[in-house]
Amino acid sequence: MKIGYYPGCTLKTKAKNLEDAAIKSMAALGYEMVELDRWNCCGAVYSLADDDLVHFLAPVRDLIRAHDQGFDKVVTLCSMCYNTLARANLLMRDDEVKRDALNDFMEEENDYKGEVEVVHLLNFIRDEIGWDKLRDAVKVPLEGLNFAPYYGCTLTRPEEVGIDSPKDPVVFQAFIEAIGGNIVDFPASQTCCGSYQIISNPEAAKATTLEILTSASDAKADALVLSCPLCEYNIGRRQDEIIKGNDKLENLPTFYFTQLLAIALGLPIEDLKLELNTNSTKAFLEQKGLPALA
């Protein structure tokens, strides 16, 4: 079965490991992820000003592409793209005045009124495949490994686009359970990693990332599971710098959820694009003898 897929900029380079593992895993589950033709950057953040319309053009154009190409759903992997596209879609569905202004402005495009549904892959798996079927498809259950699901901000907030309840989400835990891993609940699973403040106010970003690492480590996590390339950058790529000089913290491996899915489905190691992961993540897999069927 074919599904419309919006990758976003980062997944084509720095987070190719998030994308490749997803495409290969979904193929193994019987779904072809068809990349939208002529997609553009979604803008990464949703405009929060009431009098700003111009920043909705980018995400709405992507939604128009999906609709024009015959998809009733568009699947995303990156949490920030998911959030931006899903919120822009709600605007086009619910705000008649802004919808008309945007459609008029994009005269060359077909009119759009929120017909496409924006779906994050975790919810696609939950709703279209189901946890039982996923469990049956698993060849290498990740038994005995303790995974801390890190939602961050944009998967669950604001509530109207959350892939699950912003106060008590369970979808990530259900995913980990279905691929055979142990779930580690930790208080900072929805604490902001600092996001783009790593550029503007790096010390503020590092302080909140340290809190996340401490919380996951106190909860005895073996690894963090993520869905956002910016979270991965802040928590994974910058980790050495953050824990330097802190005797209580050791390196914590960071995986994209799609990589764990690929391992559990028994896909070959090259599908994981592990060269883009941190050294401690690679070392962790090696120590556990994963991927087992490589």
Binding site: P158, Q197, A207
Partner: protein, 135 residues
């Protein structure tokens, strides 16, 4: 620091602009402090969202605009999902940033980011930082 309320410190037009850009009625806030309790950036800001909103309710333009709160806010929406009065606080923070950015003043300068950082940073980090912090 004492808060001085006088016709020289109170700016009613500032309240109107903030409410117009954000779409959020400032008077709705009852100062419960839930936003202050959940803000993940509390270690780095010079005041809590609660206090910032209180100063804004009073129309204290300079006190509000001198705070770093809106610039440290990462729009994580934790306060928004918890606010018992339904105020979209990230929208207020965005409005405060826009009052500066719309005067063509940047908070960060893209050209000052090092080549090494450009090489390493994910695209979404740069796009979002430029969207939030440049004119």
């Amino acid at each position: 620091m004492p808060v001085i309320l006088s016709d020289r410190t109170i700016d009613l037009d500032f309240i109107r602009k903030l409410e117009d850009i954000s779409g959020q009625p400032l008077k709705t806030c009852m100062q419960c402090g839930t936003c202050a309790a959940v803000c993940p950036m509390d270690e780095s800001t010079d005041m809590t969202p609660r206090k910032l909103i209180h100063l804004a309710q009073l129309g204290l333009h300079d006190a509000v605009m001198n705070s770093n709160m809106a610039w440290i806010c990462a729009s994580c929406h934790t306060c928004e999902v918890r606010c018992p009065r339904g105020i979209d606080i990230p929208k207020l923070m965005e409005a405060l940033r826009l009052l500066i950015l719309r005067k063509n003043e940047n908070f960060i300068e893209p050209f000052e980011i090092s080549d090494e950082a450009f090489e390493e940073l994910p695209q979404i980090a740069m796009v979002s930082a430029f969207r939030k912090h440049t004119a």
